[in-house]
């Protein structure tokens, strides 16, 4: 497996606050990493660090691989979308192709048919001409996911994708991610620990520090050892259960 991104001994933060300290993480092809941690623990900051939106205060983030293929696709956490902004769903999805070709002046016929495929795949083809503000929260998430994957990035990052979506879409989403994972690595932040552990391959606990757990099964005591206190709101199970135990696909 080849390495896509390496974070080495990185610290990051805002103004005077160090939010992440001494973080190491290597992301390889085929990875499917679930990122968990308490609110304010630094999960989104980790995502922003990987995306290059903030620079590490110390340490480094190294990007490997060919420049041709777009490196990262990204589904933001709560997006502060201006609902009256004049842009159509189709244009939002197409904009995911913008990337390295920043000189791009028109989209090719190829680009447009690719966008149609993606809209179809996301189940929002009938909404393509609507302006983005006319969509419901869940439909908008689908459009943004379309934007994230249209360029077939090597790494797909999702920051709490399940926050505003209905159960139906959440289920579809996880199935779709499983398929996508055959073509790209995935890093998914989630607050719903119980759910993600049955989909991801490995877990990263983020609470200022990052503890990488090379399995999708994690116990309460391991979480405690990782200094990663998380609320366990896992589908009515007793909060002391071993997470992932209900999952049978491992080994």
């Amino acid at each position: 497996m080849s390495v896509i991104i390496e974070i080495r001994d990185a610290s990051a933060g805002y103004n005077h606050d160090v939010v992440l300290h001494d973080v190491n993480l290597t992301i390889q092809e085929e990875d499917y990493i679930g990122v968990i941690g308490p609110n304010g623990g630094g999960k989104t900051t980790l995502v922003r660090l990987i995306l290059g939106l903030i620079q590490p205060l110390r340490g480094e983030v190294i990007y490997h691989g060919d420049k041709q293929r777009n490196l990262i696709g990204y589904l933001p956490q709560v997006s502060q979308t201006d609902r009256s902004f004049p842009i159509s769903v189709n244009e939002v999805v197409l904009s995911g192709l913008m990337s390295a070709r920043s000189g791009l002046s028109t989209y090719t016929r190829n680009d447009r048919s690719r966008a149609s495929e993606i809209l179809e795949m996301m189940g929002i083809a009938h909404l393509r001409k609507k302006s983005i503000g006319e969509l419901s929260g869940g439909q908008m998430q689908r459009a943004f996911l379309g934007r994230a994957i249209i360029s077939e990035p090597r790494l797909l990052i999702l920051d709490e994708p399940n926050t505003f979506v209905d159960n139906k879409f959440e289920h579809d989403l996880y199935e779709l991610l499983r398929e996508l994972n055959e073509k790209m690595a995935i890093l998914m932040v989630s607050h719903d620990v119980g759910t993600i552990t049955s989909y991801v391959k490995t877990i990263a606990c983020v609470n200022r520090n990052l503890h990488y757990h090379r399995s999708n099964i994690i116990t309460q005591s391991q979480l405690a050892a990782y200094n990663c206190p998380i609320q366990l709101i896992t589908h009515g199970e007793v909060p002391h259960t071993v997470l992932g135990e209900h999952h049978h696909n491992h080994d």
């Binding site: 103004n15 990204y74 201006d82 902004f85 004049p86 913008m98 920043s102 503000g133």
Partner: protein, 281 residues
């Protein structure tokens, strides 16, 4: 009515109206889409400082306004990107500082400040060849830049952070765009004046926005509405002998009112038709 075209001042005014509609139609749509109306107001009023200093030192007021508006535009962009100063407070300070400097320097200028009123209220009927050439140059730059980079501009404006994550030179684009906004403001101060220029940048665009949710179409409609309103305004102001800038803006507002009525009626009709269809099923 057409005999007016025999006069050079009138032909110049018509050209000025066309070019103003192009520059304002395009950058104004960007301003409205990005909710930058307040920023644009700040830049406009800051430029008055430049006009005042130019009067005092005895050089071309338009040049003074250009320097001030571009510097304040770049300053606002820098402040909003880099520091923790609240952007709206910074704009408010700049807005009044520009006006204050302008008033002080105009006051200190010995004798009478010629044409001062035309900068405050505009006078499209006195636009000269040089003004027109400058406006033509600016129109060419704006049309060229927006045509070439339309998708990038749309992408950056809609979701700046995403564009950054895609390694697009967001900062550079924003500095260029805000400079084009500043230049559009300065060139059109000659037409409708400092006090009303913001209307030329927002009323046709808001009218267009009633009928389209597509940025490109918004730009095209704004240009058409801009031309219609400003030519109407020029004729009326000529025949009634009232100030042209104010008349043009008044024409814009009337057009907006008409468009709003049409839009409301159309929406009602469409909804009634849908309800009827649903209840007939």
């Amino acid at each position: 009515m057409l005999h007016l075209f025999e006069y050079e001042f009138f032909r110049n005014a018509v050209w000025a109206a066309l070019l103003a509609s192009v520059t304002c139609g395009i950058t104004g749509s960007y301003i409205v889409a990005k909710r930058m109306v307040f920023i644009s107001g700040g830049i406009t009023h800051a430029s008055f400082g430049g006009i005042g200093i130019a009067y005092f030192l005895g050089f071309n007021p338009v040049a003074g306004a250009a320097v001030f508006s571009i510097l304040s535009a770049l300053g606002i962009e820098y402040v909003s990107g880099k520091t923790n100063v609240r952007e709206d407070s910074a704009i408010g300070i700049l807005w009044s500082l520009g006006m204050a400097l302008g008033i002080i320097f105009v006051f200190m200028t010995p004798g009478y400040a010629p044409n001062l009123m035309s900068y405050l209220f505009g006078s499209i009927l006195t636009v000269g060849k040089t003004d027109l050439l400058l406006m033509l140059g600016l129109s060419a730059v704006i049309v060229g830049f927006f045509a070439r980079f339309y998708h990038t501009i749309l992408f950056i404006s809609f979701d700046e952070e995403y564009a950054r994550a895609h390694r697009i030179a967001v900062g550079l684009f924003k500095y260029i765009l805000i400079s084009l906004v500043a230049l559009t403001i300065v060139m059109n101060i000659r037409i409708v004046g400092i006090i009303l220029v913001i209307s030329f940048l927002t009323i046709p665009q808001s009218t267009a926005n009633l009928f389209t949710k597509n940025l490109r179409m918004m730009m095209i409609y704004s240009i058409i509405i801009g031309i219609t309103g400003s030519l109407t305004g020029i004729y009326i102001s000529y025949y009634l002998d009232i100030p042209s800038g104010a008349t043009i803006i008044f024409a814009f507002v009337v057009l907006f009112g008409l468009a709003k009525i049409i839009q409301v009626l159309r929406t009602r009709m469409l909804i009634r038709r849908q309800v009827n269809q649903l209840s007939n099923q």
